[in-house]
Amino acid sequence: MEDFEIVGKSYDKTIELGAKGIDPYKDLPEWIKADPDYPAFERARNDGGDSGSDDPRIKAFLNPSAGERFVDLGCSLNLMLRGYDAWPSEYHGVDVSAKTIELLKGFVAKNNLTVGALINGSLHETPFEADYFDIGACVGSLEYFKKDFVEKALSEFNRILKPSGRFVLDIPNITSPMRRFMNILEEYQGRPDKFDISPDEFEAMLRPFFSFERVDYDGVAMIQYYLTKKEMKKEPNKYKELEPYLESGLIGVLQKAQGLYGWLSEDLLAHVAEKTGQSRAKVYGVATFYAQFRLKPMGRRHILLCQGTACHVNGSAEIEEAVREELGVSEGETTADGIFSYNNVACLGCCSLSPAMMIDGKAYGSLTPGKAKAIIREIRKEETV
């Protein structure tokens, strides 16, 4: 199970307990209460110093106003339990617990609230468009994840937040003495902390994208960060090589783009759509209609294996088998070392050389399985030197 799925399941359970009126942090067993660090934890909780979502500083910093979009990533019960429903901004919640989302939908329906979206999913892969939110928060969530996930999550926060957008998040301070006790506590809740990044390292990860202020909550070994997304200069040079060709008709633009950048990424297709004034759907439709366009990264060397009639009659099926065997990939894929990508094509028009293939515009004819393999090996040798 993925980390976020474990967390989801655990919160599903918390919801069930909550329905029965049980606060899992309150009714702790005696052996935890006997821990020497328990009193400090208890104090922090009672003073409102637990870095929780109801910390008034969060609302003060985000300063939600009407017409703004707010995204609450993880722990979306805030809408119901922490008064977020009263914020003038439009609420969008993402929570990994299906039960939480179910509960919130019921809450929204019952109270006749208007929200932007309630989505059951992981906070590192949201369905929102880039630069969509004015403000956002991810409080009490990142502690459950390791560095690779946290990296993805930060990049996602950055993606969906507007330039100069404000965001609050918190992380455990793994260098704090209170950390030991907090780990025991979370373990007992069935969602052990996995967070493995020191504050210094985490701040280094934030710095390229956000300016920030830090507030420490020593009693619970947490740190809150108040982030402002840096006004990234829009890359004026992005895809600038394509500029002179934007008038050459959609297919011509896409051909040029593929020639320049190797393949057509989603970002590149979106750029073409914007610049040519066509809808993204149309650009995507055209890009997928024609065999020439590649929507995946290509290898440095591109193999086109002919499947024309003459090649078929002369044994192209065996050549295909040999090519697949030598490359270790199937049609339409790229080898792991990034050297080769391989596609079948209807006809190269080299029928008198059948069976034939073309590698980067050069035709190879009268192939046998052995000859095809030898050609590929030779190129691989050139490429690895």
């Binding site: 011509g252 209609f289 002369n314 028009g349 080299c350 008198s352």
Partner: protein, 565 residues
């Protein structure tokens, strides 16, 4: 001394550039020519009118000596009398310059004399000449060229388009590629004459060549030729030609789909009328012809339409270029006068079936065409006669099949192609071909059921009746013709689970004849699946459960002990 190297795509792939380097390094100036059509003899070097074939490094060195007048063994590479006859058996009009002149130089082509002559005639007279010549569209259907030009001329408008369809999509055809690579100026001149006929200069006419992106050399040479024609003043602001690279879609060979593609849309055909001559590219009058059609035009204008019309049959005039491929001995391009029989082509310039195998069928017209059996080889090359067989003239692909080709598998191959290339607009084509393909796959994998043939015939007829465009309407032809002429093969697959061509893997098995086996162990070593059992001095056998039917055992056996059933 006249020295040149055949540098079409196929020549280059066969090693023409190596030969060229050796000649250049010897201090000789070897020119470039396009493909002469003898693809099976590439690389080809021409010295003072003599052809040297299959020229490897040694050959090139000997030819270099010959060119310098030194002692040499170049005659070892000299073309044989038999191979010379392949050229002699043709009548070259469209290919008149291919393999003869340097396609990269306008001087080699000379002045556009046909165009200049056309300018002395009225546009109506040019169209009348086309009518007299009887030239039909070489893209496949043979529709009268003059009729299209006339309709476009009569369409009112200040702006019109001349398009050349060079999106040669039929698998097994490469006439247009060789033509552009070998003689691009013939195409440009043909398009210029067409532009004049439909209304230039009183209407502004723009020329577009829609070429396959898979033909990089053709595009380069055509681009260079267009540049030369501009420099010479033939092309200018009032009539210019540009190249539009296609992006790979078979359906774009259909003219309305081609137009959609130039407009930047998905290449989907639309209903006709209106015809492109009335409302084509960007809604303006547009004339679309194929490469070979345009290449014939300068000849007709220059030599008079009567001379062209003398060649051929009542309904099909002139010559036709064919790409001979498959199991043919002399694979390559040939240009044949209409009215000869298929047999004359295949056993004349084609040299018959390769490797002494028995002829089974010839496939014509690509995915829209059909397979013609031995019994109909005396059919004449004529639009009507070929259509009567269930195949079509097509753009010129002629793929020869021998006894090892399974006709059910061929039908499956074409349906697979059509299925992938269907644009998806009509249900009949999109889903109907898929259903037919599923049945064919089932049959070739041993799951054929009684009634399958009838189901295929029924679906095939429905697709013919229901599809919108020409490609959809002909999509079932490969299946319908193979059922018509090779029904026994279908029945063998379905009823007896037998593939007599030994091509369908699911229906064959390999066995070892224990009397012939000498237990040498070669097949055991060759087997990738560990299916061959045996020990030294013990006759081997094949475990049918493990066998993957790759045929490696049969290839490796030196005693003919491995049999296929």
């Amino acid at each position: 001394m006249r020295l040149s190297v055949g540098r079409g795509s196929c020549g280059i792939a066969a090693g023409a550039d190596e030969a060229l380097n050796i000649l250049n390094e010897a201090g000789l100036e070897a020119g470039t020519v396009g493909c002469i059509g003898l693809c099976y003899l590439e690389p080809i070097v021409s010295l003072d009118g003599e052809l040297y074939v299959k020229v490897n490094k040694e050959g090139a060195a000997e030819i270099a000596k010959a060119a310098k007048g030194q002692d040499n063994n170049a005659k070892d590479w000299l073309i044989s009398e038999g191979d010379k006859a392949v050229l002699a058996g043709q009548q070259r009009i469209a290919l008149r310059n291919c393999g003869i002149i340097n396609p990269e130089e306008l001087e080699a082509y000379g002045l556009y004399r046909a165009y200049e002559k056309a300018l002395t005639m009225s546009p109506e007279a040019v169209i009348e000449a086309l009518k007299t010549s009887g030239l039909g569209g070489r893209g496949g259907a043979g529709f009268p060229t003059w009729f299209k030009w006339d309709a476009c001329r009569k369409s009112a408008g200040d702006k019109k388009y001349i398009i050349c369809n060079a999106d040669e999509g039929d698998p097994g055809a490469f006439m247009d590629r060789a033509l552009i690579e070998g003689d691009p100026h013939a195409l440009i001149e043909g398009m210029m004459i067409a532009a004049y006929a439909i209304g230039h200069p009183s209407a502004h006419v723009e020329g577009i060549v829609y070429a396959r992106a898979e033909y990089p050399l053709a595009i380069t040479r055509l681009g260079r030729a267009i540049g030369q024609a501009r420099a010479a003043g033939y092309l200018n602001d009032s009539f210019d030609i540009r190249i539009k690279e296609g992006a790979g879609a078979f359906v774009c060979g259909e003219e309305t789909a081609l137009i959609a593609s130039i407009e930047g849309e998905r290449g989907m055909p639309r209903l006709k009328p209106p015809f492109p001559a009335q409302s084509g590219l960007w809604g303006l009058p547009t004339n679309i012809n194929n490469v070979e059609t345009y290449a014939n035009v300068p000849y007709i204008i220059l030599n008079g339409p009567e001379r062209f019309a003398e060649i051929g049959t009542e309904s099909s005039k002139g010559t036709k270029v064919f790409a001979l491929t498959g199991k043919i001995k002399n694979g390559g391009l040939v240009e044949i006068p209409m009215g000869r029989s298929l047999r004359e082509v295949i056993y004349g310039p084609g040299g018959g079936v390769r490797g002494g195998k028995a002829f089974k069928a010839v496939q014509m017209g690509g995915p829209s065409g059909g397979c013609i059996p031995e019994s109909l080889l005396d059919t004449l090359i004529d639009y009507k006669a070929l259509t009567a067989t269930g195949a079509i003239m097509g753009s010129g692909g002629m793929v020869v099949m021998d006894e090892d080709t399974c006709m059910v598998d061929m039908a499956r191959f074409f349906l697979d192609f059509i299925c992938k290339e269907s644009c998806g607009k009509c249900v009949h084509c999109r889903i109907g071909t898929k259903r037919m393909l599923e049945i064919l796959i089932r049959i070739t994998e041993g799951g054929g059921e009684e009634g399958d043939i009838e189901r295929l015939l029924e679906l095939g007829q429905q697709i013919k009746d229901g599809a919108l465009c020409g490609l959809g309407q002909t999509a079932s032809n490969p299946v319908l013709t193979t059922i018509r002429y090779f029904r026994n093969e279908y029945e063998d697959h379905i009823a007896h689970k037998k593939c007599t061509a030994h091509s369908c893997k699911a229906l064959i098995h390999y066995e070892i004849n224990r009397d012939r086996c000498v237990a040498c162990g070669l097949c055991r070593k060759a087997c990738p699946a560990g299916a061959v059992q045996g020990a030294p001095k013990v006759a081997h056998s094949i475990d049918q459960d493990k066998c993957v039917k790759c045929g490696k055992c049969m290839e490796s056996c030196r005693f003919g002990a491995v049999l296929i059933n």
